[in-house]
């Protein structure tokens, strides 16, 4: 509660300062003899991203600076965590002090676009024809594209090979829900723990539930369909059988990964970003694709950030901004981003090829990303956050036993309808 209170003031102060800077630059720009002093002020471009884990000395920060230098400007980078960044972006837009470039989690793109604070890709004249459509979808609102994915990640099913061998389960046999549930039975029957996943009451909970939800054939516009109920019953069934611990109700994805690393669990649902950590585990870890109900690969939601250019009063700034965005979205740029982030899958076929020649063992992840689906796709746009909240609440209510899956999802559908109409 303290942060949001304090930040607007700091922000207002910053806003006032930068406004003075901009005004100074403008006035001296008008007078032809303006000179170097004001010019140097003008070439500082602001950049916000959600990677506070990468400080100014990191590879990522170096890469951002390099893109700035290429465009002939200095980039001032500020990192926030994802939720804070969304709020900051909205506040800055309200004050008219948006940064030149924002990198933000893909479901937030349609929310920001809805406020009219973002420029479209066409306005910038950027070529997006070779981007994978399923990955670009999160940035498209009413036919207009408002951002470009700099990479994508998604979920897969990690397994502990030692435990599976002990229980006599062949990971290749896991192709649908029934075979997975049967494998869980074998694993827990052998005295191990079955599966862990994140059912927490935040966006992460929805993110992890969606592969099962979509894998059953359910639609986010219809939360209480029989398919949706089946997906929730699958999770609830695992809890009731003891295949998954009760604590998954409060698990974040980080907690899930920590639990998996203890070596007690046969399976864990987690993302591309844990590839390196899995390789360094005390046991042999592998992945299989998340199965759909009746076989095949379930569409997992895409994760990953979009690069966006907020509307500026001084449109002369757009030229350098365009160069910065282009620098981040060349095939080489995508691969560089991919390896910096251990791992991001590039959103273009070229980029994916280039990454696979460097890292052939990422093949299953490229496959998973190609099958993945944007959370705001299906024209959900800014309605998605409302629907998602209803969905994670239903998951919480059903798993904790406060309601049956059917009741929980009926309530969720009613809430989602009330919230989006």
């Amino acid at each position: 509660m303290h942060h949001p209170r304090r930040k607007p003031t700091t922000l207002a102060a910053l806003a006032a300062l930068s406004l003075v800077g901009v005004l100074g630059a403008c006035s001296s720009g008008g007078a032809a003899a303006g000179g170097g002093e004001a010019g140097s002020e003008d070439t500082t471009y602001t950049w916000w991203d959600p990677y506070p884990q990468h400080d100014d000395s990191s590879d990522w920060a170096g890469r951002v600076q390099a893109c700035g230098e290429e465009a002939g400007v200095t980039i001032e980078r500020t990192a926030y965590d994802t939720t804070a960044l969304t709020n900051q972006a909205l506040l800055a837009a309200q004050e008219g002090t948006s940064p030149d470039v924002i990198l933000l989690d893909n479901p937030a793109v349609s929310t920001l676009a809805d406020t009219g604070m973002l420029t479209t890709v066409e306005e910038f004249g950027l070529d997006i024809s070779d981007l994978d459509e399923n990955l670009l979808a999160a940035g498209v609102v009413d036919g207009e594209t408002y951002g470009i994915p700099i990479g994508a990640n998604t979920l897969s099913l990690y397994y502990n090979a030692d435990i599976l061998k002990d229980a006599g389960v062949d990971p290749a046999s896991i192709t649908d829900w029934d075979s997975l549930t049967a494998a869980l039975g074998e694993v827990t029957g052998g005295g191990h723990k079955g599966i862990t996943f994140a059912g927490i009451g935040t966006e992460e909970g929805s993110f992890q539930f969606l592969p099962w939800f979509w894998g059953a054939g359910a639609d986010l516009r219809d939360l209480d369909s029989p398919e949706a109920v089946e997906a929730l019953e699958l999770w609830k069934g695992w809890l009731d059988e003891g295949y998954a611990p009760n604590s998954v109700i409060n698990n974040s994805q980080n907690t899930v990964w920590e639990e998996f690393l203890t070596g007690d669990f046969g399976f864990a649902v987690n993302g591309t970003w844990q590839v390196d950590s899995a390789a360094g585990a005390d046991f042999e870890a592998g992945t299989v694709q998340l199965p759909g109900r009746d076989g095949g690969v379930a569409p997992a939601p895409t994760g990953g950030e979009f690069i966006m250019a907020p509307v500026q009063e001084d449109t002369a700034r757009y030229e350098a901004t365009r160069q910065i965005v282009e620098c981040m979205t060349t095939p080489e740029g995508f691969v560089e981003t991919a390896t910096t982030f251990a791992y991001y899958i590039p959103p273009t076929a070229d980029g994916q090829e280039a990454l696979l020649t460097e890292k052939p063992d990422l093949e299953p992840w490229v496959e998973a990303v190609r099958n993945a689906k944007g959370r705001t796709s299906d024209d959900l746009g800014a309605d998605y956050p409302v629907i998602s909240e209803a969905l994670w609440t239903a998951v919480q209510n059903a798993l904790s036993g406060a309601a049956t899956p059917q009741e929980a999802l009926e309530t969720a559908q009613a809430d989602a309808e009330a919230g989006t109409s």
């Binding site: 509660m1 969304t86 909205l90 479901p107 009760n246 956050p385 209510n397 406060a402």
Partner: protein, 321 residues
Amino acid sequence: MTTTEATATAGAPPGVGQVPLRPRRRRGPAASQWAAAGFAAPLLVYLILFYAYPLWRNIDLSVHDYTIRAFVQGNAEFVGFEKYAEVFSSATFPMALWNTAVFTVVSIVFQYAIGLALAVFFRSGFRLSGVLRAMFLVPWLLPLIVSASTWAWMLNSDNGIVNSVLGAFGAEQINWLTSPDTALLSVTIANIWLGIPFNLVILYSGLQNIPGEVYEAASLDGAGPWKQFWSITFPLLRPVSAITILLGLIYTLKVVDVIWIMTTGGPGNASTTLAIWSYREAFGTGQPDFSPAAAVGNVLILIALVFGFLHLQLQRRQEDS
């Protein structure tokens, strides 16, 4: 100010002191009023900037329909009390209100009772009592994220130490934080633990103000410890108790961090209080919903105000009698 003035008058010869009084009386008020205003100005600016404006802004948010678009473009539609009607008719409202009441009342009763018991216990000043008392302050000194996370770990359904101790006595696994029946209880227990030091410190200092002779006289009259507590300690501590409970009440009403870290108000809405609900609407989802959040916040402020006035009323009646 007053002391320098007093010494100046006292130090001046009596004859001289009277002469400058007349011109000062004529010009004085204007100049001293300016000075007074000047000295008060920083405080007034501070109050307006950090108290009046946020409060006004909160009310402003709650009577407009601030969708995200309206928030950025600043053209929110005035909707009067529509957001309040939405909040009151929401299915979450009765649940959040009930949870807030239970959370606050149970927290305060136990914090006060345990705090008072410990204060009386430490009053006797035995050896090491200073060290022990200092140790009781630890919950107060720890950052909330640390203590709340620790409680969450201890109460974990599968790996928590609480369940493993209970399990050693043959009890079944209790899903402290993940069952709708116990989630509110769990966060309340954690909050009681956090609030004991505050009660202990204030009540202990209150006890220091009760003169020892009263107890001596009572023991000469043959009053035992139990009788002494109910006839001396408790009645003489009443003003301190009242302020402790009131401060605790206002503090507990607006608790967000402990609950948010331990359960995020869940599972479902099982541990959602009004403060959590407000926070969740504004900052907990991908789509900030500032208007209903501000409306819930204002309801909370009103509740706190009612108790504040109640306290003033009680105090006035006490002074009158």
